[in-house]
Subunit: 334 residues, 3 copies
Amino acid sequence: MSSTTERNEKKPLAILTEDPVSWKGQSLVSVAQITPKGFELLVTISQQMRDIVRSEGGDDRLKHKVLATIFYEASTRTSCSFQAAMSRLGGTFIHVDGQGNSSAAKKKESLEDTIKCLECYVDAIVLRHPETGSVPKVVLSTTKPVLNAGDGIGEHPTQALLDSFTIWDELKDDPKIVVFLGDLKHGRTVHSLAKLLSQLRPQSKLILRFCSPQILSIPDSILEYCKNNGVQYEIFEDATKACQDAQILYVTRIQKERFETEEAYESVKGCYVVDNALMDKVPKNMIVLHPLPRVDEIATEVDADPRAAYFRQMENGMYVRMAILALVLGKSSP
Amino acid sequence: MSSTTERNEKKPLAILTEDPVSWKGQSLVSVAQITPKGFELLVTISQQMRDIVRSEGGDDRLKHKVLATIFYEASTRTSCSFQAAMSRLGGTFIHVDGQGNSSAAKKKESLEDTIKCLECYVDAIVLRHPETGSVPKVVLSTTKPVLNAGDGIGEHPTQALLDSFTIWDELKDDPKIVVFLGDLKHGRTVHSLAKLLSQLRPQSKLILRFCSPQILSIPDSILEYCKNNGVQYEIFEDATKACQDAQILYVTRIQKERFETEEAYESVKGCYVVDNALMDKVPKNMIVLHPLPRVDEIATEVDADPRAAYFRQMENGMYVRMAILALVLGKSSP
Amino acid sequence: MSSTTERNEKKPLAILTEDPVSWKGQSLVSVAQITPKGFELLVTISQQMRDIVRSEGGDDRLKHKVLATIFYEASTRTSCSFQAAMSRLGGTFIHVDGQGNSSAAKKKESLEDTIKCLECYVDAIVLRHPETGSVPKVVLSTTKPVLNAGDGIGEHPTQALLDSFTIWDELKDDPKIVVFLGDLKHGRTVHSLAKLLSQLRPQSKLILRFCSPQILSIPDSILEYCKNNGVQYEIFEDATKACQDAQILYVTRIQKERFETEEAYESVKGCYVVDNALMDKVPKNMIVLHPLPRVDEIATEVDADPRAAYFRQMENGMYVRMAILALVLGKSSP
């Protein structure tokens, strides 16, 4: 958390541990706040949430609590899963669309003032903003928990946490080989997940494999982060080879607009379509994840494969967010 | 349901009968799913809903249930009545505006994927989409009930059902003569209601009268549908004559933009304004319906006439949607 | 209420008194409806609401009640505080964005019809509309309570009420000297608050001071209103002098676009920045209010001053709106 030194001097971000009290009233800005034992707590409560939703639909532990979801950038999946999570725990939400027509957008109020007003009305705030660093900055002047739902190319901690939850939940064990496939240069979710895995299992036998065309390869800073945490990494260009003995394949979209020429794009896109042909060549129990939305990097024919876990991953997003809301609002038990 | 043959081979749409179990967990895509006895069940439960709302405001039978309302086209009335319906039964909703700024709109995700993600979070989905056939197509790949809130010029079953409910509720008896007035060529609600009435009372003494300028006359396919169901129809151009002995007058808007010339529009618009002068000439107990919004085809002076039932019809929309939500979520009793 | 003569002939606006029954089922269109004793009732219930929120988060007195918030003009603060207020009392809300993409906006339905439809679904309506006089006009044809959330340069009664509530709540006594600072020509909140204070304490020792550059001075009609109510007023241009012996400083934004020349703007903006330097020169217990959003007329350094009450004022907005909703929905007691 070197970049947060200045912030820490003013108002340190809480370290979130296996003690639920350490979460209560705290903001979640970065996965760096989560200890390995804290993650285990989150996994346990998320699984409890799934049981509750499947048996009863929800409970009333957040009754009379109000959440604000404020999105300065659209993200249907993230906003809807937080809103459903809050609803299923008996709470309510108000939504602010910070784009376009909102008065927040029009009246040039500072982000700090907008959030300080909203926290007069609600018990917690989910904030997404396109500007990197905006969410940690806002947290300096708030008194209610703020949950970072993505700040530009900064952090999106609940996404990394739901990805990690899904890995442990699917494997029922520590992962040994995790493959990241696609545009590893620009994909924020890849960076966050690689860092979080390194942080959760430092000095372990975990191997992270990064498979991409050279021009979209993983930044050195991420490799450095792995190394510093004692986690091995390997670089691949061939998807089939990368998947050998792997338990997890994490696919991201290759965005055509990132390429300088049409030819460059055409030269690589073919090898990175996960279809039944590829699935035939990879381990029989290798789980496929994707943060979604996908365009065509996973063929819809794969959806019926039991190894395709990306819709289960979506669903887990709600359970993990229910757990986080329950924890920061001091209601980890019903 | 000839157009659904392909769908039916894969995943037949449920036939919705007088047995509440036949509704549970099912999608409502087309009025063709509803049997005459199924409609009677819906009428009974909708009336119960009205009693509950008027005495208590609502109940808690859908507690911990979450509805998604996703609208790729604006429809304030339809979305609000579904949202209020869900709220009054103790459930909650999340809303996705599929237009403009939404990420669904921006990221080019397929409609199927968007809906498959949303159903990870919620118990049922209300979907409106401008593309005809989009909703039945989506239903093929979903596991949660999807309620069609309009797919282009396709179907809008809850509108036809609330229109029919209002007819029976106002008359306390089967209608004998129903008049459709206005633009019968383009009006989706007219087509759906005419088909539903034919289907609910086939081989009956029901007479459907279609009154419009020739250039806006009812399509032959609808007349064919009536004929095949053994329902009589009559064609009119004069509103007063059409209303003779009628119990129901269903008015729709004549949209100026449908006419090729200003003169063509001017030539007909006059005869189709329902005002007090017209109301003086029609049966003393003839009920006036309109799907709303109106522009000027019903003068506001008519609102005070006890025969003007279009705002009661609006209100019924909520009760019918409450009944549908309760049925598909398996809670037809509190 | 001279401008409401025509309305009163048709459907008089209720006078809202110390008897909760006088509020039940009534619309709140104008502060002119509120008697001094009615305001005392509102203060008492608002304070109760604060206690409830701080101890329990809310209660269930509005369970199964549904509120519609319909905004033809964005106002994040007003809509969010009403929505949170409704939620905290156990009710729910549906929101209609009357701008841009809404069908209300597209289909040219009259405002009266839109509201008449919405009231079929809900128990009360919060309405904001840019056109002055639109809300009182709509109230003529509705049967459910309509709460005016701002009609152009007309009224915004809940703002004036929360401002007044904050004054009494902060002072625990009647104010003796209230200073209005900034653009007093265009500021609707200043006009409403000045009128409300005059109405609440007519023939009293209350002094209202209006401090602005000459080109942005308070309209004569407001001064007339004070005079007719036996309330003294004084005109200032110097902020420090205006604040002498004052208990309340109500700051509003000076909008650059109101000035004819850049020079005119530059000539005055300096004197009206409330910063620590100014705060050093004013009374030690003078409370600073602002309707927010601010741009730079109050320096953020002032936020930490205990006299800066504008965020408490925001928070009070929710309590006052909870009290109003409870009163008009007949649930002033839990």
